[in-house]
């Protein structure tokens, strides 16, 4: 089972991101489960959502406590929430930022003995460019498809098209593709300095 935890703020489409990821996995014939954290959800408050992907039925209903991947939609949370809690040893961390991991000061934040792969993608910038609104969720899923072998970009695109009206979907698909290209370009392959 592959488990993803998405952190962001209310209004950033965190729950939608988890749902889109689950639909993308479903389209690849896999079992998946997406659900929100059961905290207070309001505009601007830190929120979480979860997605599990497996080849068999998923029965587990606990929150994702030991994620294999983290998607962080707001780097400002790095200093507010223990984002890395429970992250698996070889975990993947995808952060929405135009800065590098070192610039974000992640050497101080990640735990010891971590062999995680980290990556930043300027998802908000890409969303502003292609969608016209600062909604980084779809772009980050494009980036996720690039750095993780768990999901294909085409499936993410199909999930986006399945969810949104044509015009909105098109912008989000473009943002996801652009993020995919950025992530593939190499700036993402740096190991987390930990």
């Amino acid at each position: 089972m592959f488990q993803v935890r998405i952190h962001g703020r209310g209004g950033q489409g965190v729950v939608t991101a988890a749902e889109l990821l689950s639909v993308a996995a479903f389209l690849e014939g896999r079992h998946s489960q997406a659900f929100p954290s059961f905290g207070s959800e309001r505009m601007g408050a830190p929120v979480m959502a979860f997605c599990r992907i497996d080849d068999k039925e998923i029965r587990l209903r606990e929150p994702v406590m030991h994620p294999d991947a983290l998607i962080i939609q707001d780097p400002g949370l790095l200093h507010q929430v223990n984002l890395f809690e429970g992250l698996s040893e070889n975990g993947l961390v995808l952060i929405n930022s135009s800065r590098t991991l070192a610039e974000l000061g992640l050497d101080e934040l990640a735990g010891e003995d971590c062999k995680c792969l980290g990556c930043t993608v300027p998802a908000t910038d890409l969303a502003l460019k292609h969608v016209g609104r600062p909604v980084p969720n779809a772009a980050l899923l494009g980036g996720f498809a690039a750095v993780s072998d768990r999901i294909r970009l085409e499936s993410v695109e199909a999930a986006i098209r399945d969810r949104f009206p044509a015009k909105v979907a098109e912008g989000n698909v473009k943002a996801a593709r652009a993020a995919f290209d950025v992530a593939k370009s190499g700036r993402c392959q740096e190991a987390l300095p930990c």
Binding site: S22, F26, S32, Q33, A34, F35, F38, L60, R61, E62
Partner: protein, 417 residues
């Protein structure tokens, strides 16, 4: 057709496939998405011959459903938590009148303190209101149970509550197999009411009944519930034949062969319990579980049979009977009559507290060693509780408990600036 959709959407689509004629509801978290989806479907004309009625409260929602059902319409509503309490009088009326209304309860805690998250205190508070109560383990089962519920309700002329864990199921996206309209039509025939308010053949429904007949009317309501004990497994079997999957029924046992410890629970937590049972079985612990699908009628005999060879029974319940312990476990104890077995009540998942594999593992190890108390509050923060008890003992005006505890946990500011 396989779909990856939200639980609420799955329930809404299943209800629509059952061809309801009147849907009335008042929004309340976490049930809202269900009736929002249905409202949109009706507005788009996707549900034939169906009227969606906006009402001003939950009391009105169920009262309208009662009126619609008495006029011969297939009626549906949904609610949760305080909404269910607010409609309580109508809940009893619907069953007392023998009207086959189907209602979804998106299970949520009851206040105060106000809490929008999942537990099962709401539907369990209505356990003796005369409705059949079915609990869904997955979104697939939630969908399937609604299809069975309309059939069951109308065959017996008794209302059915389908209980679906709020957020955990209602807000979860997972794979469901949505049946076709033809399949559902073949399973749920058109509604043929036993009683109907028809101007052409006037009757009255809802007469005042004195001591000369009240017991008999009540007895017959109980008799219908006993009939449901027979009908539920039959419907589940027929459903399996037509739809190709097991859903519903009375109880479902999981790896109980040779199990010394058997865990009993209602609803979605059974999934997590099964995962932990698998882990512990691999480690050699003789443990299994039983999922209670029907809570009313209570499947006394089926449960007795399922627990017959257990040495200890651990009931995990998302509800609390203050002053005694458990609601579900008190019922389960009755099924244990005549069996020499240790019974344990575990109160868990109240107000949305996550029930984790780690906590369940610890719990089951304790049970296995014979070290589990009769009543346990899973993951109770003892320190916080003791500090509040100290405050209560130290001063008369100790203040509101909920606020004291939040302040203690650092969740609200100490003072308003």
């Amino acid at each position: 057709m396989l779909k990856q959709i939200e639980g609420s959407r799955a329930v809404a689509e299943a209800v629509a496939l059952c061809r309801p004629e009147v849907i009335c509801a008042y929004p309340i978290t976490p049930q809202t998405h269900i009736v929002e989806n249905l409202g949109e479907m009706v507005a788009r004309g996707e549900v034939e011959r169906c009227e969606f009625i906006n009402v001003e409260s939950e009391f009105a929602a169920l009262s309208v459903a009662i009126g619609a059902s008495a006029a011969g319409a297939r009626a549906y509503t949904a609610t949760a938590s305080q909404g269910l309490l607010f409609m309580a009088e109508a809940v009893y009326n619907a069953s007392g009148l023998g009207l086959p209304i189907v209602m979804t309860v998106g299970n949520r805690a009851i206040g105060a303190p106000i809490n929008i998250w999942n537990d099962q205190q709401d539907s369990l508070s209505m356990r003796d209101a005369g409705w059949i109560q079915l609990y869904a383990e997955t979104n697939q089962e939630a969908l399937d149970l609604h299809i069975q519920a309309f059939r069951l309700a109308e065959e017996l002329s008794v209302p059915v509550m389908v209980c679906v864990d709020g957020f955990i199921l209602t807000h979860a996206y997972e794979r469901v197999d949505m049946p076709s309209q033809d399949q559902v039509d073949a399973f749920v025939p058109p509604y043929e009411p036993r009683q109907v308010l028809d101007p052409a053949e006037p009757i009255s429904i809802g007469a005042m009944v004195g001591p000369e007949a009240f017991t008999e009317v009540r007895y017959l309501a109980h008799y219908k519930q006993m009939q449901a004990l027979r009908l539920l497994p039959e419907l589940s079997e027929e459903f399996a034949e037509r739809f190709g999957r097991d859903s519903g029924g009375l109880v479902r046992s999981y790896r109980t062969e040779g199990a010394e410890t058997v865990v009993v629970a209602l609803g979605s937590v059974n999934g997590t319990i099964k995962d932990v049972v698998d882990e512990l079985r691999e480690e050699g612990m003789p443990i299994g579980s039983v999922s209670l699908c029907s809570f009313r009628p209570f499947p006394m005999r089926a449960l007795h049979k399922a627990l017959l060879h257990a040495k200890r029974v651990v009931v995990i319940e998302k509800s609390l009977a203050l002053g005694i312990g458990g609601i579900v476990s008190t019922n389960v104890r009755l099924a244990l009559s005549g069996i020499h077995v240790h019974g344990h009540t575990v109160i868990a998942g109240l107000g949305g507290r996550a029930i984790t594999r780690a906590s369940l593992r610890d719990l089951f190890f304790q049970a296995h060693k014979g070290a589990l108390p009769h009543v346990t509050f899973l993951d109770l923060n003892q320190k916080v509780v003791h500090r509040e008890i100290e405050r209560l003992e130290r001063q008369r005006r100790s203040g509101p408990t909920a606020e004291n505890i939040l302040r203690d946990l650092g969740i609200v500011a100490d003072h308003i600036a």
